[in-house]
Amino acid sequence: MTLEIQSRQANNGVTVVAPTGRLDVAGAPTLKEAISEALKGGPSKVVLDMEGVSFVDSTGLGSVIAALKQIRSSQGDLRLAAPNQQVRVVLELTTLDRVFPYFSTVEEALTGF
C-alpha cells in the first residue's frame, strides 16, 4: 500500500498535510518529501492529518519526529490530528504523546494555531 499525500492550505494559512495508507518504513520517505515541500515557502505551521493513516511503525514515527524538528528549526510548528487507535497506542508506548499532543480532529488542531 503506497503512501499517498495531499496538502492544502486552511483558511488561517496553516498547511494541512494528509497522508493516506501505511506510514511505515516504505512510506516514511514520502512524508519527508511532503514536509520539505511544505516548508519551501518559509516558516510554516503544519497540521498532520492522520485520519487516513491505517498503521504506523517506528520508522514512520521517526519521519514525524524528523518533520517536527525540521519545522521547528524553521520557526514553524506541527500539530497531529485524528490519529487512529493503533497510532495512539504507538505514540503512548513510546511516550511520544508527550512530544506530540494530538487533537481529535483537524478542525480542533487548526483552532488557535
Binding site: D24, A26, D57, I65, Q85, V90, L93, T94, R98
Partner: protein, 139 residues
C-alpha cells in the same frame, strides 16, 4: 476471550520490502479472522505492531544487497497463542538484548524495544549464517 481457537497457519517467502510488508499485514488480517477477534482487538494489534517492526527490520537488513535468498516467514495460531518466525541471511544483530528505547527526539531505534515490550516472547538466534527470529503472543 471468546475466541474459536481455530488452528491457523500462514507461510510465505519475501524478496521485496513493499510486497513483504503487505503480506505481513494480510497474514494478520487472516489470523484475526481465524481467531474470531474484532479489528480493534488490543492483543492482535500489539502483535501486529511487533510483527511489523521485526518484519521491517528483517526485510531491510536481512537480504544483503537486496537480493535472494528471500526471507522465510511462518505464522501459526494454536490455542489462542500466536507464533511467528522469520529466517533471514543478513548480518548478525549484535545488540539485540541491550537495545533500549531511545530519547524523544531520536528518529530511529524504537522498533526492537517496542517489539520486546509488546510480545510475550521475542527470541533471536544467530545460527551459522542465518538469523532466526521467534515471536510469541498469547491472545
Amino acid at each position: 476471550m471468546g475466541t474459536r481457537a481455530e488452528p491457523f497457519e500462514f507461510h510465505a517467502t519475501f524478496s521485496d520490502l513493499d510486497e513483504g510488508l503487505e503480506r505481513l499485514h494480510e497474514s494478520v488480517k487472516l489470523l484475526r479472522d481465524a481467531a474470531g477477534r474484532k479489528p480493534d482487538d488490543t492483543n492482535v494489534m500489539h502483535f501486529e505492531i511487533a510483527l511489523a517492526e521485526i518484519g521491517a527490520n528483517v526485510l531491510t537488513h536481512g537480504r544483503p544487497n537486496h537480493v535472494d535468498p528471500p526471507v522465510e516467514y511462518d505464522l501459526r495460531l494454536d490455542h489462542d497463542t500466536v507464533r511467528a518466525s522469520f529466517i533471514d541471511r543478513g548480518p548478525a544483530v549484535l545488540d539485540f538484548a541491550t537495545r533500549e528505547m531511545p530519547g524523544a527526539t531520536s528518529e530511529s531505534g524504537r522498533g526492537l524495544p517496542m517489539a520486546r515490550w509488546l510480545l510475550d516472547e521475542l527470541i533471536y538466534q544467530r545460527d551459522g549464517e542465518v538469523n532466526k527470529w521467534r515471536l510469541v503472543k498469547h491472545l
